[in-house]
């Protein structure tokens, strides 16, 4: 790899303690994020994409447990390395990571802002936790950032409440509230899902533009491969908390290797192929309480019936290209055949 990764996640596993028992939400996930890179994480709901990114900031709920072998090695803006998975929950270092190093924006900005405080109040709170500025200076920074994300009349908006803004404006305010803390990584958890398609495109353009200006890396979560393909450099496909396939987004869209990714791509409606019947992936995501043995996707995979290994052995992500990995027995068999 050309540069040192900003973030190296290895063997990330998260389990939930529920009334029905221990549920695996993220299983042995590993990936790296380069400075300035945009990594898309795609998967159906329940695939663990949101949980794994919350784990990066240690924002998991009380009933969640981070596996002891998980490592989240992060290089801070000052160049020091910290393993976020090992930080004390009350440590200053973790508070600095949250917001100051890694910031997050959410699917529903209306719920992510408290209706009891103005947008400015919540932005200033974040600024003053991470930057040594006075209240007045923080307010100026907030107004500047609101202006920067394209909000009209920022001097007025700063004193408004989230419920006084439109959906698109709210998401812009959310982005401003994250970026004003100058993070090196922005985690965007389905930030466009709740928006109209036209607004969605505006927000994606804005994020790309801001990324250029601020030079931050983005982890962009979506269930929608089409959205991911517009913004991400690389994509990580997740299913039931496991990595299915990782690689450059263009290659994965054109040459998906994993049967699950192939299914996802076939399920995208295309304007130019209106006559083509949609091909949904058969079946439903299994309940996390009944995790399939072997490959977690085998219950819905069109090829699993012919391959007994899929039912018993967990496939390990293997390279199909230098920067393209897929976790599928079919591919490892093919690679083996080719190398023999």
């Amino acid at each position: 790899m050309a540069t040192d990764p900003l973030l190296t996640v290895s063997n990330l596993s998260v389990r939930f303690h529920t009334d029905e028992g221990l549920v695996t939400a993220v299983d042995d996930l590993s990936f790296a994020l380069q400075p300035g890179q945009t990594l898309g994480i795609v998967g159906e709901s329940g695939s663990g994409k949101s949980v794994s990114t919350k784990a990066l900031m240690r924002l998991l709920p009380d009933y969640a447990e981070l596996d002891a072998n998980s490592h989240i090695v992060y290089q801070t803006k000052k160049g020091a390395y910290v393993d976020i998975a090992r930080l004390d929950a009350r440590s200053k270092a973790l508070k600095q990571v949250r917001g100051g190093e890694i910031a997050m924006i959410f699917q529903e900005p209306s719920a992510a802002f408290s209706p009891l405080y103005t947008i400015g109040n919540q932005m200033i709170e974040g600024i003053r936790l991470h930057r040594d500025v006075s209240r007045d200076q923080a307010r100026k920074l907030a107004i500047e950032m609101l202006d920067r994300v394209g909000m009209t009349n920022p001097e007025l908006r700063v004193d408004q409440y989230a419920f006084q803004l439109s959906g698109g404006m709210r998401q812009r305010a959310m982005i401003a509230s994250a970026l004003v803390m100058r993070p090196a990584v922005l985690i965007a958890d389905e930030p466009t899902t709740a928006l109209d398609v036209t607004i969605q495109a505006q927000i994606l353009d804005l994020l790309k533009e801001l990324q250029q200006d601020f030079g931050m890396a983005i982890i962009f979560i979506s269930h929608d491969l089409a959205v991911i393909s517009q913004i991400a450099d690389d994509v990580l496909v997740m299913y039931l908390g496991k990595e299915m396939e990782t690689g450059p987004v263009r290659r994965i869209i054109r040459h998906p290797q994993h049967p699950y990714t192939q299914g996802l791509i076939n399920a995208i409606p295309r304007l130019e192929e209106l006559d083509r019947p949609l091909l949904p992936i058969p079946g439903d995501i299994p309940s996390p309480l009944e995790r399939p043995t072997g490959c977690v996707f085998h219950t819905r995979c069109p090829h699993a019936a012919d391959h007994p290994r899929c039912h018993t052995d967990v496939p390990i992500p293997a390279q199909t290209q230098p920067d393209h990995l897929a976790a599928c027995h079919l591919l490892t068999e093919k690679v083996l055949e080719e190398t023999v």
């Binding site: 917001g99 959410f106 007025l156």
Partner: protein, 346 residues
Amino acid sequence: MILSTASSSQANAAFWRFLATRLLVSLLTLLAVSFMIYGLIELMPGDYAERELFRKYSGTGVTITQAEIDRVRADLGLDRPFLVRYGEWLWNVVTRLDFGPAFRVETSVNALIGDKFFYTFVLVVGAMLISYIVAIPVGIWVASRKSGIGDGVVTLLSYLGLALPNFAIALVLLMLNAFVFDLDVTGLVSQEFRDAPWSMAKFLDFLGHAYIPLLVLGWSTTAFQLQTMRGLMKDEMGKLYVTAAQARGFSGWPMLIKYPARHAVMPIVSTIGFDFSRSFNELPIVASILVLGELGQELLLAFLDADQNTAAGILVCITSVIIAANFLSDLLVAALDPRVRMRGGR
């Protein structure tokens, strides 16, 4: 919809209009309450003059004559029409805060209920304050940590408070004090202070007696508020705006108080008025066990004796406190929630 700040100041005007309306309705409520009790007693068979003579001569063999009844009526002014008497009473209340003469005891209503109103007020307000001061922080604390021993103890104490009837708690405390500590804790002040003017010593003596009714009244209210606060707090802590605040690096008690607690306390603040009236309703039972001279008992006696001035006076006092509590609750909710200010009331 995008509102401008200009419209939000208009919205604040809407809230003041709401408060003004509330105030007007409150005054009308007081008027209606006094008129209703005055009228209700008027509708009862017989009046105070008959009751007084009956009490005076019952068992003496004296025959009460109509002339005598008429004389007492004239003395007390009871021979005038109902509306005149009510009007005069109301006029004196409004202009001079004078509730008129109490028939049953030969003194004014003000003198009769003054101290008792003070005791009742202190007991009810004290019990409510204790319950808020305990329930809100403990509720936040219990909700913010994983279940453990502290949680268990709090839950046990609050279920006891909820399950035990107030009179039972009062009896147990009374027994404990009488037999174990050998203290006389009935009444609200010791014998020597009963008719003494207010002094520091009398006040301290009052506090020494008041803690039992405060404990009895406060326990169940605290238990109820605590369970409410904990439940609401748990709900709020799962909300996205809390995750978002944590994602900004905000944590600990300052975060809990700024975000989830402010949201969670809203339903408690908005029921202050309701809780006051509940406390007023619970007080007479506790009061009769602890032999406290308080308003509830006095109200019942006044009603039985057809003492219109006293009954209406007491009811107006109690209702005023409940209305004031409701008003306070409206103001607090508006202070806590900008949406209420903008909408112009709940």
